[in-house]
């Protein structure tokens, strides 16, 4: 099939960006979206232009490295799917596709479609862990974890840290990302000792990194390629309130 691509190009963080239009022929419906961009890049390079920079690695929906807002939607039109898992059979011959980076104050653009998501790492550093020094753990079965709790933890832990939730949110909030980690660890007995301090410092860091506030738009849940539920946000809010009251 033949497509028209409107792609965001930007030389660096301080440069001004603009859309660039490319007609691309020879796209097969078996290609993944990123393979379609590979094809474009090969053509650009052979015609003496620079390749479009975009982030990707595993190309199977698990590393969270790929991003892109496709026709206004983070990770494109298919629900529960990352950009790298999106296939061209979801598009038709003659389509026009607008491709932009994830946009958020806390995700500065590095180049073209590549953004800096290290603010997510900072949120994890603030408390997204259980302090368990190597070598000091009890037997794996010494602490029982009810299956429902461990399933709940796993549902939240499935987050791939891609930032699609932030890109989809009108306020560029990182609530779903932060809440997913808070909920994962709060659901497990191992996570209880640090539960209160964790939620307080992660939320504080989230604010300091320049993410917006939650106004219950639920766009994050709709865009999440792992379909993490906004119920995690409710859980985080409850934990936060409780912790704030107890520490004051």
């Amino acid at each position: 099939m033949k497509l028209t691509l409107n792609i965001w190009r930007q030389a660096g963080p301080e440069s001004e960006g603009q859309f660039e239009t490319h007609a691309l022929d020879g796209v097969s419906e078996d290609m993944s979206f990123l393979e379609m961009l590979d094809l474009l890049n090969q053509k650009l390079v052979m015609s003496g232009r620079e390749a479009v920079a975009f982030d990707h690695d595993c190309r199977e929906g698990i590393c969270g490295m790929c991003s892109l807002v496709i026709n206004g939607e983070a990770h494109g039109p298919v629900k529960g799917t990352t950009t790298c898992q999106l296939h061209m059979r979801s598009f038709s011959d003659g389509d026009q596709i607008v491709i932009e980076p994830f946009r958020a104050a806390a995700f500065p653009i590095i180049r073209d479609l590549v953004v800096d998501r290290s603010s997510f790492d900072s949120i994890i550093m603030a408390g997204g862990f259980i302090s368990a020094r190597t070598g000091s753990a009890p037997d794996g079965n010494a602490i029982l974890v009810p299956k429902t709790d461990s399933d709940k933890a796993m549902d939240a832990a499935a987050c791939i840290g891609c930032g699609g939730c932030v890109a989809a949110c009108p306020n560029a909030a990182a609530m779903l990302f932060t809440a997913a980690k808070v909920t994962h660890l709060a659901s497990l007995p191992q996570g209880q000792p640090e539960r209160q301090s964790r939620v307080l410092s992660m939320v504080k860091e989230m604010d300091e990194q320049g993410f917006g506030n939650c106004t219950n738009e639920r766009e994050c849940e709709a865009a999440c390629p792992k379909e993490i539920s906004v119920a995690t946000i409710a859980q985080m809010n409850r934990d936060y309130l409780k912790a704030a009251i107890f520490t004051d």
Binding site: E35, F54, D57, I62, Q85, I124, T134
Partner: protein, 642 residues
Amino acid sequence: MSASSPILESNSPTGPIADRWANHRFDLKLINPANRRKFSVLVVGTGLAGAAAAATLAEQGYSVKSLCIQDSPRRAHSIAAQGGINAAKNYPNDGDSIYRLFYDTVKGGDFRARESNVYRLAEISNQIIDQCAAQGVPFAREYGGLLANRSFGGAQVSRTFYARGQTGQQLLLGAYSALMRQVASGGVELLTRREMVDLVTVDGVAAGVIARNLVTGEFERHSADAVLLCTGGYGNVFYLSTNAQASNVAAAWKCHKKGAFFANPCFTQIHPTCIPVSGKHQSKLTLMSESLRNDGRVWVPKDNTDRRTPSEIPEDARDYYLERRYPSFGNLVPRDVASRAAKAECDKGRGVGDSNLSVYLDFGDAIRRDGAPLIAEKYGNLFQMYEMITGENPYKTPMRIYPAVHYTMGGLWVDYNLQSSVPGLFVLGEANFSDHGANRLGASALMQGLSDGYFVAPATITAHLASGKVQRLNTDHPAFAEAEAEATARSSKLLGVQGGRTVESLHQELGQIMWDNVGMARTAEGLKGAISSIRSLREEFWNEVRVPGEASHLNPSLERAGRVADFMEFGELMAVDALAREESCGGHFREEHQSADGEAARDDENFSHAAAWEHKGIEQPKELHKEKLTFDYVQPSTRSYK
């Protein structure tokens, strides 16, 4: 190849195997807690091996610096592992033990691994599960709250721990969280979007690395008292593999050129259940978890002219070739055996799909027996992934699968301390030549990465740090300037060619050479041909490659070009190693060496060794060092799955 073959020493402890690791640890020197911060350790890579090592060394008090290519440590290729991690807990009480895991791993590796290492791995496996559970890894549980296990990869006991189909993700996120805790407390300095482009050695001892800041393009010098290389495997030499796009041999290859021996590069694992190639545009292959073979039946049409759709082909016109050839293991034969059998069927023209390069994996019987809901519960996410990629619904029509490059057992040679032949350079995880011999069993790589990272290296690193060889150099040393100048020159050279071919097309061509000649079946003639084709392709690369842009900004084309340039050199070594190994074992199958019924014929008399190659200059023959393998406990026998 070289005529002389000096013997290599593994520094393995002796004595009863069950006591070796404990005794060895006692014999290792200790460094006083207060003194540890004076030692700097550079950990390259943040996969399971690297993240676990960096976090643990920082907890112990060392000054740690950690580097990775991706924008966050959490994105390392380990994240993609699906199936699970083995441990000898024997929670199901089904006869497992440390000894049995050790035995299975030595046998599964076709008697080409070091016994002492494998035993240590089996021993540590239990501590790994404890550690990960304490970190909050949401392992699958039973209703009573106990950890759940499953049987995986044909094992006759249930020893595999898992977190849905995302075990690698959850283990890596556990290690990542431990690492980030140390970054927050100042124990680790974390540098992301950095690529190690050279190892710096002074008088043959590791002194640090040169890294490229991938965002600014700048080259940076990092000195350290010890360097831990945790950079993963080299499967992408085949262009198409199940590895992530950034997975590479570059870091290991640079260390090889600085004196680290490369061991058994020809031992690669080709996984039997992957989604087949759909066209030339394909950039990677996707693994379908091995667990599918617990319920799926593999078959091809008996008649190679049979073009009917699978549902139209009646039972008696199907050949369930694994069940026919291996009645006792059936569809659960080990990976190397299953892959080769699929290739054999396709070679006979019985392959299915447009390309005739795939076989059916059929869930029809399982769905009739257990019902679709139960099958969906077990494999729902895999079926969904399959449909997303192929557009076909595996509940209705059999999956089509074909083998793909998946894992590399070869890697930098290390002794029992995981120290390479360059003092001060330790190699962990898939990057070392490891504990898996000629074939890795399912769910064993995660175990090895975490064993190396959490438990082995943090103990054995003192073998160097307390050895008196530590030089305490800083980056003003001329060796750093020299290595940096070389790296700068190479990157200018890549940008300067401005030829007529893209990096991808050259990489693709290399991959085809490797797949055809150094893949599932190898012959002397094919390997010799491959060596000369790789040499000419390498020349073409340096005359014809076109790399756009500049070195002074984020330039993915330039990054890729550098990695492919190293594959162009490394591919030749793989072929050389495969040619020298005149036997078939595990994933290495030489057509000249097979039994009457087409099984691998091992030659223990002449090849019971690890082949460790020493670099002598790119156009020079490598020197082969052999580490003799001795088996005190598990006597080599022919693997039989009939």
